[in-house]
Point group: C2
Chain length 369, copies 2
């Protein structure tokens, strides 16, 4: 703080009067950004039918959440509804269509976080909860805890009356085939890079800003094909795969979970954006306005203080690059309380979509579109 004030003290007399902002402008729009996994997705691996089908699913998920946000619903409700749809969609590695574990079962991880309160809920290794994202939300809303695991998480799910499913309800022929191929390679004694991105491709996530000015993030996954020893990836780890903070942004990640945990990707992006914004506010001698209850309203327009979408992009890209330097691949979606939204990934493609604000709703698959 001392240093920052010193810098500001030096800066102040040099700032031209015309650079003083006119004052914060409330942002009353909304945004929704989704992903369906990042990996070696290129035009040669995906048929025209698959391409069309994935785009249709992403568009439908985007529209489901957008309808809630457009009507003034909360970011939490929007991302939960969006992910429930993607969990039910067998094309994605979450809920139905999740990958198989070493033992041939399907185990889910999910998390959700509310940027307005930094309340969070997460579950790992559930086997019978139809919608893991809803269970994560219930952990947040109806338990004193943040993070529940395995049989205990499923037990909490039953006690809460959430919809249950037999484990084989989550199975798809495609994922069984992947697992059989994986087992065959293992049994032939082949060395497999278990962190190979294509064995876990298809995690789903959503981040949103609602018209109340709050951001939220959620992520849901089946993890990686052949996972064992109760392996936990980044998706249910608050700060790694998911983070939301009204003072910074909301982030959902997908990729090599181990590297995302080590780099603390979601929290790192939020922290960098928060620090940048605070510095800009202090340099402009401005402050975040308070609402009727004395709570800071973080949806003041950051661009008034020089915080542009390009800054967000640079921050997200640098954190993904840093995670990449550790050896990982994957991507993130980011949205701020000021309406900026970016994707960032170091893989050839990422299933993704964006809606809201003054932009047209769009979905994309490949890195070059």
């Amino acid at each position: 703080m001392r240093l920052l004030l010193m810098i500001i003290a030096f800066l102040m007399p040099l700032t031209p009067a015309s650079a003083q902002p006119a004052g914060p402008i409330p942002y009353d729009g909304w945004t929704l950004v989704i992903h369906g996994g990042a990996g070696t997705i290129d035009r040669e691996r995906i048929t025209a039918e698959q391409d069309a089908s994935i785009r249709a699913s992403l568009s439908q998920a985007l529209e489901t959440g957008s309808a809630i946000l457009r009507e003034g619903g909360t970011a939490l409700d929007a991302i939960e509804a969006t992910l429930r749809l993607l969990e039910d969609d067998p094309q994605f590695n979450a809920g139905r269509g999740g990958v198989f574990t070493w033992q041939g079962t399907i185990e889910h991880d999910a998390s959700i976080m509310d940027g307005s309160t930094r309340a969070a809920g997460a579950v790992t290794g559930t086997s019978n909860t139809r919608h893991p994202v809803t269970l994560a939300r219930r952990v947040m809303d109806s338990s004193p805890h943040v993070f529940l695991s395995r049989e205990g998480a499923d037990q909490f799910s039953r006690e809460q009356g959430l919809e249950q499913a037999e484990n084989d309800w989550f199975e798809t022929e495609y994922r069984r085939g992947q697992w059989e191929a994986f087992r065959a390679r293992i049994e032939s004694g082949e060395e497999i890079g278990v962190l190979d991105i294509d064995y876990k491709f298809g995690t789903v996530g959503a981040v949103a800003l609602d018209r109340h000015g709050n951001v939220a993030a959620a992520t849901s996954t089946g993890g990686m094909t052949g996972k064992r020893w109760g392996r936990i990836g980044d998706s249910p780890v608050i700060g790694a795969g998911t983070y939301a903070d009204n003072r910074g942004c909301a982030v959902s990640a997908t990729g090599d979970g181990e590297y995302f945990i080590r780099a603390g990707v979601a929290h790192e992006i939020c922290a960098q954006i928060r620090f940048r914004f605070q510095m800009l506010l202090e340099a402009a001698r401005a402050s975040v306005p308070l609402d009727d209850e004395g709570v800071p309203e973080y949806y003041v327009h950051a661009s008034e203080f020089g915080l542009e979408t390009a800054d967000m992009q640079q921050i997200a890209d640098s954190v993904i690059a840093e995670m990449g330097d550790l050896g990982g691949t994957g991507g993130v979606i980011v949205t701020t309380p000021w309406g900026n939204s970016v994707y960032s990934f170091n893989t050839p493609g990422m299933y993704r979509g964006m809606a809201g604000g003054d932009r047209e709703s769009s979905v994309a698959i490949y890195g070059d579109e």
Copy 2:
């Protein structure tokens, strides 16, 4: 970055030539900081015998790790050896002496992180592994994963040949008594604040800087009395209860795990120290020197650039205060690659100790010592 460069550009002409550092000074000391839990520890609750016994245990643990560091051993080896001792000590809520779950079993969480590579290992819900911190290290060193859970983690532990113990080996009369009192209160229909700090008091942790200039952090715990649904606290969550990064610091936390996860306490402290140091380096137009292999040597003396122990204290205190604003209590231990070490806690006391550098080895219990 743009803003930072702008600030630096403004600052540069104003920096007097005499403020230019003479150049980075390698730090060849070592430090070790430990904790044994934070809570409502005051002189009225602790007998003279308990006080002496706790201090003796902390001193012995400190000396065990110090001996390794003094001889040029690694921070990882020092913190692992230190925590193994505290895990075996029935006075602490880790390993033997861990608290009882809802069902009356004992389940451990632990994690470890290497600041030089940001490699990490963590386990949650193990029942039969004698030294959870060693299992966490084995996950880091000998698996492709970072985080393993419950039966799977114990299975990995057996496959690795680690020492096993029957679950009742971890039991102590004192913890059984706490659990029976807890169950009696539950059965009488009393509302219990399950996050009450005194039901989980006694987590152990260690952070160290070795003579090679690397920092590392580790944490080990039995969690909270009466925990259920496979609850996971902050101790095994990389970024919440444990984080280490040679560019910033090493942190181990203890307290209301749920709040530490939500605030991302360990990663937040590391990120703030890293950003502060980077700003100071850039402002001084200095850079971190590279070693023979081109790896940055982060143990340049930060005080040459104006980064003092008081700055670390202020950062740690502000993050603990922010976690406190969310509603939590607890504390952290922090050490940097530059030899600064601090404690910070918002509870009446924290079992703690510090050794190395040019300071005398010391242990403390209450907040006012």
